[in-house]
Amino acid sequence: MTQTSPAESAFDLMRRRRFWANMGLGALLVLMGLVLGVCSSCQSVPEDTFKTTGPLTPDKVEDYGRLVAEGRDLYEAQPRNEERLRRSVSRFDQAMTLKSDDYDTLWQGARSCAWLAAYAGQKTDRVEFSKAGLRYAQTALKVKPAGTEGLFYFAVLSGRLGENDNSYGLDAVTKIEESCKKIIESGADVAYGGAHRVYGMLLLRAPAPPTSIGSLRNARKQLEAALAKAPDWPENHLCAAEMEFAWAKDREKPEFAAQARERLQKYLLAPEARTPQGHEFEFERWKEDALKLLAENR
């Protein structure tokens, strides 16, 4: 996790905590199904970016600031819902017509799109928001090539695109792996061990080599690293539990299944399991996923 310097004010610290909390969303990559033969025509993840705008003219400074703030506020309002997130993306889209080179705005636009790529009701919309979000993430990376948030949302959105349109699956695997590795190697953290979690879920669900890169052992390493980064983050426990059920089956070690059940209860299902602040909607979804996982692994 990013360290705070003593010089930082309490306000900065609070703002940063909120900042990271907001990035936790959607990081559970439910991608697979996508590799091997499931890709239907092997398309590349789109690489387009926003057109470069000229300098922000003084009369537009206020408009730009208002649009960005609204986009962010609409994302942060709890509990999140599709209608508000669509409005959030719309504000960011408008802001891009005025200025398209502010890194923070770009990754925040990608984040709103990522939410819709995960939770929009219609599959066609999820595909479109994946592509729209990738444009934000790609542009963010153009501005700041090693930007942690840009890389993270690029990975998440590539996964969402592959999940919702299998023809992007093969390329998505490569893109996710590359982006997550860059974040991990930089030592930065994002979204509560997000890079480890996303990469870990990819390794858990992808087919084995030589078809793809799947490996239960490597998945376990990554998901344990995510837990080490953020031991209380419920999504990390949800992902770790899925890995443990697979491990229990593969290695014939039922104690791992018992451990998975225990962590699902403790961090997601028990009455004392706490909803992380700013993640009311997502926490309910994770609880549903936890119940499904338990039902599949009775």
């Binding site: 025509s41 093969l170 084995a208 030589p210």
Partner: protein, 281 residues
């Protein structure tokens, strides 16, 4: 007047049905089945869409032919059931060479082409382990995904010298994970892992696995074969062979080849096929 319209509508309807039936009669379905020995993801749910794509490509390229997927299987018994299903007949199948040799006569299989998976001309298996396998590893545990066809393994891939204690084939869905056991849990690791050419390449490029040592290798063997079942391709046989051999000649075919990890399906290497068949007996 109303009666007239009714007759017209009825005539159009009948005509439509007639045309449709005529088209169906003209283009009977040619079933396409795929068997990938030991590949855990070789099933209709995970690989069906890709095989549908191959069926569509063949339908588009072979005049008046309509290929449809019958099924994707990873186990020999399931594949046998699929290929014996007369209600949903398979005309064209991709099968392992062992399956082809075993059921060639009973299912009336004719080898038309050979998959060049990973761009390799022929398959070659290599034993890797902590130590170099210099000779037949008598009585050792060898990890493989191919254990559902022990005849193929024992007679062709790693022929057992007379009097030697047979190797113990141990099934792993994921050979990379079997390789990591040498590092993480040596007490639970197999003695060796049997790798195909593509997997060996993966091992050689993996930071943790490249330290394992490659030893004894098999002869160069046939890869998976494209076979015709019971002459069911009929007049479409030659065109089908041509389309498969020229898969990498069009942009669409290239994309499909990437998806299948097989750029092209040239004619089988007869010499190689006969040599393997002789051992398999």
């Amino acid at each position: 007047m109303r009666v007239f319209y009714s007759l017209v509508i009825a005539a159009v309807f009948l005509l439509g049905v007639g045309v449709s039936q005529a088209q169906e009669a003209k283009t009977p379905e040619l079933g396409l089945s795929v068997f990938k020995l030991g590949e855990v993801n070789a099933n209709d749910k995970q690989a069906g869409e890709a095989i549908d794509k191959l069926a569509k490509h063949l339908s588009d390229q072979v005049k008046d032919a309509k290929f449809v997927r019958r099924g994707v299987r990873s186990k020999p018994d399931d594949t046998l059931t699929l290929l014996k299903d007369d209600k949903n007949p398979t005309a064209l199948a991709i099968v392992s060479p062992g399956f082809y040799f075993k059921h060639k006569d009973s299912l009336k299989l004719t080898a038309l082409a050979e998959a060049q998976r990973g761009g390799f001309n022929g398959e070659q298996y290599t034993l890797v382990g902590k130590v170099k396998a210099e000779k037949y590893p008598e009585g050792k545990k060898v990890a493989t995904t191919l254990d559902a066809d022990p005849d193929w393994l024992d007679k062709v891939v790693l022929p057992r010298p007379q009097g030697a204690k047979p190797v113990q084939w141990v099934h792993y869905d994921n050979l990379a994970d079997a390789g990591y056991l040498f590092l993480d849990e040596p007490e639970n690791a197999p003695d060796f892992i049997l790798l195909d050419r593509m997997s060996l390449k993966v091992f050689q490029g993996d930071a943790d696995l490249k330290g394992l040592v490659a030893g004894l290798s098999s002869e160069v063997l046939p890869q998976d074969l494209v076979v015709e079942v019971d002459g069911r391709l009929g007049k479409h046989r030659d065109a089908t062979i041509k389309v498969l051999a020229e898969l990498d000649q069009t942009p669409e075919g290239k994309k499909l080849g990437e998806l299948l990890q097989t750029a092209t399906f040239p004619a089988p290497d007869e010499k190689r096929l006969q040599a393997a068949a002789a051992r398999y007996k």
